[in-house]
């Protein structure tokens, strides 16, 4: 039963990823990305990572995808990719770089145990994450908030209309 569910979810994830990569219409591609993110969130659930699944839905499939769709609607409404590619030479670099990034994953895959995946590390995952975030990792957490604040101030400065 678990294997059947995995195959179905994996099929949805791969199919939506292919749709994202090959659909010419940017809006359709973005909607395929929403499906893909949802499928990956379900896979997180099957691994017992409830917090990660909820964060995936709320942050990526929710907030960031709304931002993406908004940007697509504003910048390229319904426009398809046509004409010559101005950055073709740079794009060829994606293949070796992608291969280099894929190599560690292949090594991990070769060394992975063949048995079933272990259940979640802790039975109370969300509580453990919250406790760690506000105790052992409080300083990095606060540094991240300062970083986000700096980004917000930067956006405000960059988007401010020039006066005079």
């Amino acid at each position: 039963m678990g294997a059947v569910a995995f195959v179905i979810i994996a099929g949805i994830a791969v199919g939506s990823a292919l749709g994202l990569a090959f659909k010419r219409n940017a809006i359709h591609a973005a909607l395929f990305l929403v499906v893909n993110l949802g499928a990956v969130a379900v896979l997180y659930l099957t691994l017992g990572a409830q917090f990660l699944a909820v964060a995936q839905i709320a942050v990526y499939a929710g907030a960031i995808m709304v931002l993406f769709l908004f940007a697509i609607f504003v910048l390229i409404p319904g426009k398809e990719e046509t004409g010559p590619d101005p950055r073709r030479s740079y794009r060829i670099l994606a293949l070796p770089v992608g291969g280099a990034l894929l190599a560690p994953l292949a090594i991990v895959l070769a060394a992975a145990p063949r048995g079933p995946a272990p259940p979640a590390a802790a039975p109370d995952g969300v509580e453990s994450i919250a406790r760690l975030l506000f105790t052992d990792y409080l300083f990095p957490f606060e540094v991240t908030s300062v970083l986000l604040l700096a980004a917000m101030v930067g956006v405000l400065l960059l988007s401010r209309r020039r006066e005079g």
Partner: protein, 31 residues
């Protein structure tokens, strides 16, 4: 239970599709 290697294989496939997407797409926003 699903073997751990299945998850790793799926992640590798999704990553490879992403690399292909970067190569074939022209729109920087989509990339």
């Amino acid at each position: 239970m699903v073997p751990e290697s299945w998850y790793l294989t799926l992640s590798a496939v999704l990553f490879a599709i992403g690399v292909v997407g970067v190569i074939v797409r022209r729109n920087p926003l989509v990339i």
